[in-house]
Amino acid sequence: MSHFSNILRKDRDRALYLYHQMVLIREFEQKVEQLFMQGKIHGTMHLCVGQEATAVGACSVLRDEDKITTTHRGHGQCIAKGADINRMMAEILGKATGLCKGKGGSMHLADLDKGNLGANGIVAGGLPIATGAALTSKMKKLGYVVVSFFGDGATNQGSFHESLNLAAIWDLPVVFFCENNQYAMSAPVYEMIKVPDIAERASAYGIPGVVVDGSDLLEVMRVTSEAVERARRGEGPTLIEAKTYRFKGHSRSDARKYRTREEEREWMEKRDPIKKYRSWLAGEGLASEQELDQYDADARKDVEAAAEFAENSPEPSLDLLTEDVYA
């Protein structure tokens, strides 16, 4: 049993906060989808429903000064690293009050004040950047660690391999966190990657590679915390592969022809990270079903408020068009 189960048994507030964060992410994503269907979101969206335990588990073992880079599917990590969901929702709606003044949108959510160095529209685009942020930590002796999130698809990009090698030879304080959600858009992992576990690729760079069940919050916390502490001690990077599943399609236009409804049901029924953690909490007697329902309702209310804030926020003024190109 993970040592986090012992810690959380004794720290009910923290245990429930983690639950709160996971349901907040799911409610947030469902609201984004709803707003999208209502035609209120211009552009596209990539939802992380089903992947809440990787975002929350990994970010929960970080310090405030630690940093992350995320992906096009980055709403979850952004919330888990402490972003204000009002400003996040406003950004997704392209409003002036958004985290990026409405200029970045869903795929470029960044929250530098909270250590989120940005989502990325380019698959594997964040790995070299995370490596560089880790180099700063090492050169300036700042003590922070960087966690770079990416999907299974990114591990076929040159930037993945180059970054792992570079971080390995320089023992940089970075953790490479692969959310293997089984599909790179429509391409299944088993067709695009020959090795059974992506984590095996770590051995090519002389660093540890770890596989973890991405639907198990406590396990994600355990492996991430070990990797983060290793990095903080100056022992270099780790590659974590969390096996997970995106419950929704890739993006707005996805008819999900590449996978079966049976497969989806299987994951949703057996490996829903929120259901799993909820039953652990209830089983440990840390919260009653009613209490947990209340958390769900509160999250829904917070998300409704965020949507209201976003919808009522002004559009960016046209003067903003040519601002911020140069520092």
Partner: protein, 327 residues
């Protein structure tokens, strides 16, 4: 004043800046014991050690991204990309990441990094080591582009580039490395966006970049014997471009030739010509603006073919005679 080479001026600028600012470090391939493929970083490893003279694996995408990530988090990297042709492997990090980050993030964050890279033909390196790609970068909002032509300019412009809070691409023509000129020993700044009139004249203006400045000056000397007075203007930086100085010179001489080594088609000289055509200088012009640029061919290996591929002194002389209707 003492005379040093272009390569020495760049090295001296870096050494002096690194002594003043701990945040500056060098990153690149073979920049350590080897001293860089053109010897620009010779001896710097001994001065600053391997932490600040970071010799890297051959991973252009990752080392560029590493520079980006470290720049975002407080360092001021100077990245040496061994040949500007290799930049094509790193373009995602330059164009999609470094250039756009501040804008995408709504004005938060900055990427104060310099990419130094050898450009141009003339040494028999053939098609994949001899291109002039500055126009590609000048096209991208968020980047600045510098092309020094003298040791004096190189030293001062590099300081401005390193102090700039934006990604700056600093093109060093390979044939310039060995050229000599007067350079003050102390550190000084030449601001980006200030053209320099390298020679005053009254009959025709030649706007030339990089190595073409030297060829234009040689042509001007020849033409002087025929009583033709040539003004040679070096923009020094393409972005930002000192439009005012170029326009003023065009209005003074009423005839303009733009000379650049890059392929003439859609090269930066086309931008300069259009800019002048749209400016108040148009009414003053006595002849259409002429462009002299590279042939639309990959740079060939054979030295006669290589020379024929880009403008030479004789081509410039012929161009001047033609624009003055004396040919």
């Amino acid at each position: 004043m003492r005379t040093i080479t272009f390569a020495e001026a760049i090295r001296e600028s870096m050494i002096q800046m690194m002594r003043e600012n701990e945040d500056i470090y060098l990153i690149g391939e073979d920049i350590g014991i080897y001293g860089g493929v053109f010897g620009v970083t010779n001896g710097m490893l001994e001065l600053f050690g391997p932490e600040r003279i970071r010799n890297t694996p051959i991973s252009e995408a990752a080392i560029t991204g590493c520079a980006v990530g470290s720049a975002m988090t407080g360092m001021r990297p100077i990245l040496e990309l061994q040949f500007s042709d290799f930049m094509l492997i790193a373009l995602d990090q330059i164009v999609n990441q470094a250039a756009k980050m501040r804008y995408m993030f709504g004005g938060k964050g900055s990427v104060p990094m310099v990419i130094r890279t050898p450009n141009g033909s003339g040494l028999g390196f053939a098609a994949q080591h001899s291109q002039s790609l500055e126009t590609w970068l000048a096209h991208i909002p968020g980047l600045k582009v510098v092309q020094p032509s003298t040791p004096y300019d190189a030293k001062g412009l590099l300081k401005a580039a390193v102090e700039d809070n934006n990604p700056v691409v600093f093109f060093e023509h390979k044939l310039l490395y060995g050229t000599k000129g007067e350079v003050p020993e102390e550190l000084y700044t030449i601001p980006l966006g200030k053209a320099d009139i390298k020679r005053e004249g009254s009959d025709v203006t030649i706007i030339a970049t990089s190595i073409m400045v030297l060829r234009a000056l040689e042509a001007a000397k020849e033409l002087e014997k025929e009583g033709i007075s040539v003004e040679v203007v070096d923009p020094r930086t393409l972005v930002p471009l000192d439009e005012e100085t170029l326009i003023r010179s065009a209005m003074k001489t009423r005839r303009v030739i733009v000379v650049y080594e890059a392929v003439k088609r859609a090269g930066f000289g086309a931008e300069i010509a259009s800019m002048l055509g749209e400016s108040e200088a148009f009414d003053y012009l006595d002849a259409p603006i002429m462009r002299l640029g590279g042939e639309a061919v990959p740079i060939p290996y054979n030295h006669r073919l290589e020379k024929a591929a880009v403008p030479q002194v004789q081509d410039i002389i012929r161009g001047v005679r033609r624009i003055l209707n004396r040919a």
